[in-house]
Amino acid sequence: MKTRLLAVAIEHETDIVLVRDRTRSVATLLGFDTQDQTRITTAVSEIVRNAWDYGHGGRIEYWLAGDSPQILEIVVSDRGEGIAEIDAILSGTYRSATGMGLGILGARRLMNSFEIDTAPRRGTTVRMAKPLPRRAAPVSRKDLGNLAQSLAAGRSVDPLSEIRRQNQEMLVHLDELQRHQQELTQVNQELQDTNRGVVALYAELDERADHLRRADELKSRFLSNMSHEFRTPLNSILALSRLLLSRADGALTGEQERQVQYIRKAAENLATLVDDLLDIAKVEAGKTVVAPTEFTATSLFGALRGMLRPLLVGDAVALVVEDAADVPPLFTDEGKVSQILRNFVSNAIKFTERGEVRVWAQLEAETDCVVFAVRDTGIGIAADEIDLIWQEFAQINHPLQKKVKGTGLGLPLSRKLAELLGGKVSVESAPGEGSVFRLTLPRVYRVPGDGAEAESEWIPDPGRVPVLAIEDDPADAFALEHALAGSRYQPLMARSLAQARRALQRVSPVAVVLDIVLVGEEGWRFLLEMKQNPATENIPVIVLSATPEERKARSLGADDYLGKPVEPARLLKALDALTGEHSVTRVLLVDDEEVSRYLVRQLLPRGAFELSEASTGQDGLRRLREKPPDVVLLDINMPGMDGFAFLDRLSQGKDASGVPAVVLTSMRLTAEQRQRLHAAVRIVAKSELSPDTLTAAIKQALSAREAGPS
């Protein structure tokens, strides 16, 4: 039977100490006496040090062999170069310069058996053995188990080797970390290089864009200037040819008349072209003025029919204009709408040889837009040419095209005009079947950008609470307005932050809905600004965004966050949750003067306040008991029970004590009177009555009550 008791690796100089400790433990546990323990430990120490010094580490194993007597066998192996002078050492004739060599001999003397096996490049293996003491009982399997346990326990309490092991692990990790860091640095460097490239590219693009912008500007300027220059001589030609044809300067021969007619025809064509060019240039240069007026589709169609019927040649094509009586009146530039439709219809007639050209209008209730449509049964447009028709001077390739004259500017101009009115044009077509051209326009024209008309809409609606909605995209703004339509919230639309700031000065909304994406970084600043300003910090803000930025929004003070597109139900729910019951403050007004009551009724922002009135102190107390208000507005000078008496009753009152009061007075109060008024009561002079002073006084009174009983 041969059992291995323990194996220890020698990886480090301090492992020698560990091995000595283990050796002594093994010897003690196997029952060797102190002398033998010392002998074995010393021998092992010698051999293990050799293994470390010359073999660069190795391994030691402890075996229990034999039966009677049992023998402790210790095997030390290293992976060194081997010992060259082994024979000399063993014979005792070797003397090293350092006094070494004694170790092997000494160890051999200390142990009962000693074998050394060494060969160049294979390393050295030393086997040493000592029989267990005779007087001790043989070591059983059970003993071996205990032994192993003791050794294991001993190992775990050896902090030095544990620390060293951890140290080594840490070194490995550190090494790895360093490698990662190097990789990161490298990646970072690459990214920086790429970034520089991108920046350079951007600069180039900017430059290109600038070039393009300048070229475009030049073109527009050229067109608008040159068109005027063209017009003057053209007008002369037209006038002169008309003069000639009127024969004011004598008769023309038949041939001459034909020639002059041609001249005049050509001049007229050229004039049309110049007119169209001028229109386009004007639109592009932003010089076109939109003059909105109110008109009906019916009246527009009437004029159109009269203008376009002469274009029809023969009976092959019919112009059908449908009834548009159910389309509500429009408020936009009639002349421009007419111009677009004229273009559509004359185009349709041009490219239709037989069939009909049908014109109709309808309301798109959802977006409050009017759609005008012109359908023909003409040659149609191939799918790959559809985009082409909106380009200046582009004309599609068709035999019919060559017969009819055109400037190639009609449709592009129509598109530009439609955009100017906030609408768009579109076309559906199939070759040989005809086309449908559509013009979609907002029913009510809105000046883009400045949004001045929006501010004029900031008139508080009695019975609704105002919500400030900041949204610069017209479509989204419309959706927001739509979402709040019919609710108890009145949307006050702001198209810019500047407008929103003005709105906040004029009205105090119960909540603010802020679209963050469209207004960008400025929007975040606005949010922060609102939340840092004591006057506006209590107004809840709902942030809308198309990108997930809820965390940022909340950290900057937003009270709620909704992703876009906004569902009306969710927006309403959020508003309800944020404004809650606080949105309506019940106010009891006690004043004998009819005029004062009327004033307060008018000045108090409706929606946020629910006003009930009493004309005497008694009546006021009765109402107070019936339906306790949040705050009382009280006149001092009243017949019967005056304001002071009312206040006394209020402070003693069992039923409605604690309702804060705001005193309205038209007289200057004496010091004594002031003293009679409770400290918590706010005083507002009637001469200073305004929505703001009232709202502020009520808010102060309410917050004073919330702060603690007075």
Partner: protein
């Protein structure tokens, strides 16, 4: 790293080796001991190895070296408290510690150092006188 304390008792340096020294620690002890002798001008060095469970050839050589070096620095070295098992093993190992004076315990060690110092001085005085 741990270090073995060196105590000054009168004009003697006292080193008590309580732990199993690994080789670097042993060499460090040798160095700091020599530095200390020069710093303090100590006349004697006493090495207490009563806690040492074994002395192998390396430690034996170290003790020899310390004694030789101290002698050159004009200090006498005495090793005290060697356990019997260690003494027997030392002899079996073939180490003789020929340059080292030994004593059984610290008291006897101190007395021995005192005698050596005095003896040297007397010898010196005799030569001079």
């Amino acid at each position: 790293m741990d270090q073995i304390p060196i105590l000054m008792v009168g004009d003697c340096l006292l080193v008590s080796i309580q732990v199993d020294m690994h080789d670097q620690l042993a060499l460090a002890l040798q160095d700091s001991l020599m530095t200390k002798i020069v710093e303090t001008g100590a006349r004697g060095v006493m090495l207490d190895i009563s806690s040492l469970q074994f002395v192998d050839s390396f430690i034996g050589r170290l003790l020899n070296n310390i004694a030789s070096m101290a002698r050159v620095l004009d200090a006498a070295t005495v090793v005290v408290g060697m356990q019997p098992a260690v003494a027997i093993t030392l002899v079996e190992l073939g180490l003789t510690l020929s340059g080292i004076r030994t004593a059984l315990n610290v008291d006897k060690g101190l007395a021995l150092i005192r005698r050596i110092i005095d003896g040297e001085e007397q010898a010196f005085d005799r030569r001079e006188g």
